[in-house]
């Protein structure tokens, strides 16, 4: 096994070619020794007879065709795991960088994972209270769900993710074990630091496993980072019965890295130069969320991706949306009006919400209120469009009410403080208060009985007062 191959036959970006290899297998990990002292890792990505194309995780700088020794390890990429990884920080390929020494492994797992058998999955039904109205009320997060945040550069997606982590972990006073796996792919140092500080401040940092591949770290490493992180998450969830929240940021960098490597391999590009297997690759990440029979733990994913040019039809958000169970979309215009969190509720969605809310989970009126708010807020858009053409004064009385409703909805329901942790009752009550601005006949999505119980007309004064309250915060 320990044959060392001397030299390489080609180097092209992060890819190197080695000829004359014996017994190498697809996706096997190899070790390089450059100039007799620098160790690097690589992965075989293509193999033809005795010619292997290898991806070097740390990049091929300083490697030459003669100064490199290569050794096959005989196995695919594995991650050393034990419960001690909690509270530790690793680099993008799972090696400790916090100076606390290596992990004594209880187990080594293949980071590529295996597809979960749909038969073994348990359908997620348990909702996670995040304390954020726009999420709890309208796009409820369910344990075992994958719910990405679609954001843009400069929008507060990091703050939102941090707030979710803080409030979701604190709210659950039960004795269930909870941990966070944080994977950074090509993010700025400041962002990684922000998350670390937040975890520390909220007292959860000994329950956090961090995998950091920063913006100046090797690009190819990024392709491995989420897989390493998810392997850790699966281990903690399914073997140690913990509830794991995985935050992956930024998926866009991951896809960019894939495109870069694909183009240096000379593959045929499909949409926007991304390789044809972009969907499959993303799916192998996202589908690793879930709950399985026979295990108490769960893996919930909140991937963050920055939409290039805020374009939701770009291949990365587009394919993501087709795999994940909904999405939370952030909006630049709301952000411009200083509304935090700037969640654009209409395109946001949680597919698992319908089965995790209502009587027995949240409150019986939850689904109806959510539907009605969506439906009314959609009409606000029409009223605003009309107002911009004929002027606000010319609007019919009902359209004017919709305008008031729209503003109040954005400021009072969507908008909240970064530390404000609302209960589900508060969220729904605010919803009813806002619906009260509109006449009862307009509420066509709510069961008559529920309307009788909750509907109360709100006077405009009350609305003004509420709005002022909101601005004071």
């Amino acid at each position: 096994m320990s044959i060392e191959y001397l030299g390489l036959s080609a180097i092209n970006g992060p890819l190197v070619v080695l000829e004359g290899v014996q017994d190498a297998s697809y996706e096997e990990i190899v070790e390089f020794t450059v100039d007799d002292n620098v160790k690097r890792l690589g992965r075989i990505v293509e193999i033809y007879e005795d010619r292997a194309v290898i991806q070097v995780f740390e990049g091929s700088e300083n490697m030459s065709l003669v100064n490199t020794h290569t050794q096959l390890t005989g196995h695919p990429m594995e991650l050393a795991l034990s419960e001690d990884i909690l509270g530790r920080t690793f680099d993008g390929i799972g090696q400790p960088i916090d100076g606390l020494g290596p992990i004594v492994p209880e187990k080594r797992l293949n980071i590529n994972g295996l597809p979960l058998n749909p038969v073994s999955r348990k359908y997620p039904r348990n909702y996670i209270r995040t304390g954020i109205s726009a999420i709890d009320g309208l796009t409820t997060l369910i344990r075992g769900q994958k719910l990405p945040i679609f954001s843009g550069n400069g929008l507060p997606h990091d703050q939102l993710a941090a707030q979710i982590v803080q409030q979701a972990s604190l709210s659950d006073g039960s004795d269930e074990k909870f941990a966070i796996v944080f994977a950074a792919m090509g993010v700025k140092y400041d962002v990684a630091e922000y998350f670390r500080r937040t975890f520390e401040e909220s007292g959860v940092s000994d329950h956090v496993v961090m995998f950091l591949n920063l913006a100046n770290d090797p690009v190819v490493e990024r392709l491995i980072t989420p897989k390493v992180a998810l392997t850790a998450a699966e281990y903690l969830a399914f073997e140690k019965d913990m509830h794991i929240l995985v935050i992956m940021t930024d998926i866009t960098s991951f896809c960019e890295a894939m495109r870069e490597v694909s183009s240096s391999k000379g593959e045929i590009p499909s949409r926007k130069g991304y390789p044809g297997y972009l969907y499959s690759e993303l799916a192998t990440l996202y589908e690793r969320a879930g709950i399985v029979h026979g295990s108490k733990g769960s893996v919930t994913q909140i991937p963050i991706l920055t939409m290039p040019n805020d374009d939701i039809t770009h291949p990365i958000p587009d394919l993501t949306g087709y795999i994940t169970e909904g999405q939370i979309v952030l909006d630049r215009q709301l952000h411009g009006q200083s509304i935090y969190p700037p969640i654009s509720v209409l395109p946001s969605l949680s597919r698992l919400m319908k089965d995790g809310i209502g009587e027995g989970y949240t409150r019986a009126d939850h689904q109806d209120v959510a539907n009605q708010l969506f439906s009314c807020y959609a009409k606000v858009g029409d009223a605003r469009a009309l107002a911009s053409v004929i002027g606000e004064d010319e609007l019919s009385p009902i359209d004017k009410k919709y305008l008031v409703f729209g503003n109040a909805f954005e400021k009072r329901f969507v908008g909240q403080g970064m530390l404000e942790n609302r209960s589900i009752e508060e969220t729904l009550d605010i919803g009813w208060q806002l619906l009260g601005i509109l006449p009862r006949e307009e509420l066509d999505r709510i069961d008559t009985k529920i309307l009788d119980q909750y509907y109360q007309e709100t006077t405009v004064d009350l609305v003004q007062e509420a709005l002022e309250d909101a601005t004071d915060m």
Binding site: D23, S25, P118, D318, R351, A378, A385, T448
Partner: protein
């Protein structure tokens, strides 16, 4: 002696063998020590190309590939229903038993349980002449479905041996048929059929009967015939999967084959859990008794995703041959097209539009053409209807998969993002959707529901179209300035949208609505329109009409009138009359 080859190169799911191996196109092969399943997809004198249906991590050049001699096939026999398979018909329950919560590689399990004994009633005896398609045995496969085992299509002759009624496994030979050449064929409950070859039938004919789904916008506005094809395109979150689930639950097909092709694992779990609890409206048995699931989720190997569509089709055709009406839900055909694209890219083929291979259109047409209403070889009638979800990239219907699909389907249920945003479900847009079956089905509706059914449907469609053009004006100048008759059209269209088109899948009464109630709902809405129009013509303004809550009352019919109480519509008719009289009285 089995033919073998040696691996030369590995690139993702594609592997190359050096030299002329003598393998056949489409032949199933076993790859490497773990016996991964693969299929031959290209042959040249010096290279054989194989797609592997499992993860190829760890494969080495030099490993042996063994040909099986057969094309990629499925096993047909009792035990298909209530089961869940992967893309190449391996039962996921068995895989879970042998390898735990993950799907391991190289798992070798039989498609159908070979140990279970089925109670068989024999339908032929020694001396009978049989041809392809003749039913030779019957088995109660589930509470709802009798499984009819048939002589394979290419065999005919005289029965020379037959067992008596009793309990048999799927592999025990039940009859022996001696053909004209004197060759003996032993036939068991299970038989194999290659997935890429359509099962033969005697003749095809146009369908005159709708696949009733209980969904108002489908049954009334854009019906699909039994044996028809429909596409459900829509961006993410617009409700493709919901629409398919609803049809799978409530349609009047005998058998449902649900293909989860490259979609979410949790969705398959949901179907599995829900369908076991829900009851089939036709038989009162669990829905799962008439359902078979093919699950190739998005993280399962891409080559098997490509095959899963054909696996599902072949199962459907098999039940069609028994004389059943089968409906296939393919969710989603775009993932299948993308699997083609991915494999085509690995093969370094010249890409056509958007990177899709040039043969995309011909593959799609071949897929949809396997639907149809047919007379089977044994003289029974059966149908395969295909309802394919399409996930257009960026929600843009001009992309190649949607455009090519549109050429080969006759029903188009276009899902609309803005309707979904406003949580109007089903978000099927009435302006962009169409059904070419409507004229074929007119006589059926006239005979089975009401003579006026199609006329009413067309009036409703007309009102919605008028609303759509009026909305263009409203967007510019607001609705206040419109004349009253046009305001009435807007109001009635609102009643139609909220009270008729919108349907609540989570409401026990509203989730599935019989055709007779659909008809009565149309009737009452149009009656209200007629009466209101008369009032407007007499000069009463819309504001006066709106003072009455009759419009809201009609909208609430979908919840307020139970499906089994059609007589309640009489009171609504009276309410409309009262409304008419009241307006007249008050405003004289």
């Amino acid at each position: 002696m089995k033919k073998t080859g040696i691996i030369y190169g590995v690139n993702g799911p594609v592997i190359y063998l050096k030299g002329n191996t003598g393998f056949k196109m489409g032949e199933m092969v076993h790859v490497g020590e773990e016996h991964l399943v693969g299929e031959v997809i290209a042959l040249t004198n010096d290279m054989t190309t194989i797609q592997v249906f499992e993860e190829t991590t760890g494969l080495k050049p030099g490993a042996v590939v063994e040909a099986t001699g057969d094309a990629i096939s499925v096993t047909l026999g009792p035990g298909i229903l209530t089961n869940i398979f992967d893309g190449i018909q391996r039962p996921l329950n068995e895989i879970a038993k042998s390898s735990g919560k993950y799907i391991n590689r190289g798992v070798s399990v039989d498609s159908l349980n070979t140990e279970k004994k089925w109670d068989v009633t024999m339908k032929v005896s020694v001396g009978d002449t049989v041809t392809g398609g003749t039913v030779f045995a019957e088995t109660q496969e589930t509470r709802s479905i009798v499984h009819k085992s048939m002589i394979p299509p290419h065999i005919s002759g005289t029965v020379t041996k037959a067992v008596s009624d009793g309990a048999y496994t799927v592999t025990e030979p039940l009859v022996t048929v001696t053909d004209a050449a004197g060759t003996e064929h032993e036939i068991a409950l299970s038989q194999k059929w290659p997935i890429r070859i359509p099962r033969p039938s005697a003749s095809r004919h146009p369908s005159t009967e709708p696949l009733v789904t209980g969904q108002r916008i489908l049954d009334t506005m854009f019906p699909i015939a039994k044996g028809g094809t429909a596409a459900v395109p829509g961006g993410f979150g617009t409700g493709k999967t919901m629409t398919q689930h609803q049809i799978a639950k409530w349609s009047n097909a005998d058998i449902i084959i649900y293909i989860g092709c490259g979609e979410r694992g949790n969705e398959m779990t949901q179907v599995l859990e829900e369908f076991q609890e829900l009851t089939d409206p036709k038989t009162g048995n669990p829905l799962m008794d008439r359902t078979s699931l093919i699950a190739n989720t998005s993280n399962m190997p891409v080559a098997a995703r490509e095959a899963s569509i054909y696996t599902g089709l072949t199962l459907a055709e098999y039940y069609r041959d028994m004389g059943y009406d089968v409906a296939i839900m393919a969710d989603s055909t775009s993932r299948w097209a993308e699997a083609l694209r991915e494999l085509s890219g690995r093969l370094e083929e010249m890409p056509a539009e958007e990177g899709f291979p040039a043969y995309l259109a011909s593959r799609l047409s071949a897929f949809y053409e396997r639907a149809g209403m047919v007379t089977n070889l044994n003289g029974t009638e059966g149908s395969v209807s295909i309802i394919g979800a399409v996930s257009p990239q960026g929600g843009d219907f001009s992309e190649p998969v949607t455009q090519n699909t549109k050429r080969f389907v006759r029903c188009f249920w276009g899902l609309d993002k803005s309707l979904a945003y406003a949580r109007h479900f089903p978000a099927i847009h009435w302006i962009t959707s169409y059904s070419e079956y409507l004229s074929d089905l007119m006589p059926w509706y006239a005979a089975n529901v009401d003579k006026k059914f199609v006329a009413y449907r067309n009036q409703i469609m007309g009102l919605l179209n008028q609303e759509s053009s009026l909305n263009e004006i409203v967007k510019l100048i607001g609705s206040d300035v419109l004349p009253d008759d046009q305001k009435l059209i807007l109001e009635i269209a609102r009643v139609i949208r909220l009270g008729f088109l919108q349907q609540n899948a989570f409401h026990p009464e509203d989730t599935c609505v019989p055709l007779s109630k659909q008809f009565q709902m149309m009737e009452i809405i149009l009656y209200l329109y007629k009466k209101s129009k008369a009032l407007i013509a007499m000069g009463h303004p819309m504001s006066v009409l709106k003072a009455d809550n009759i419009f809201e009352k009609i909208i609430a019919i979908k919840y307020d009138v139970p499906n089994d109480k059609p007589e309640m519509f009489e009171s609504y008719r009276k309410a409309v009359d009262d409304f008419y009289d009241n307006v007249l009285k008050k405003n004289q």
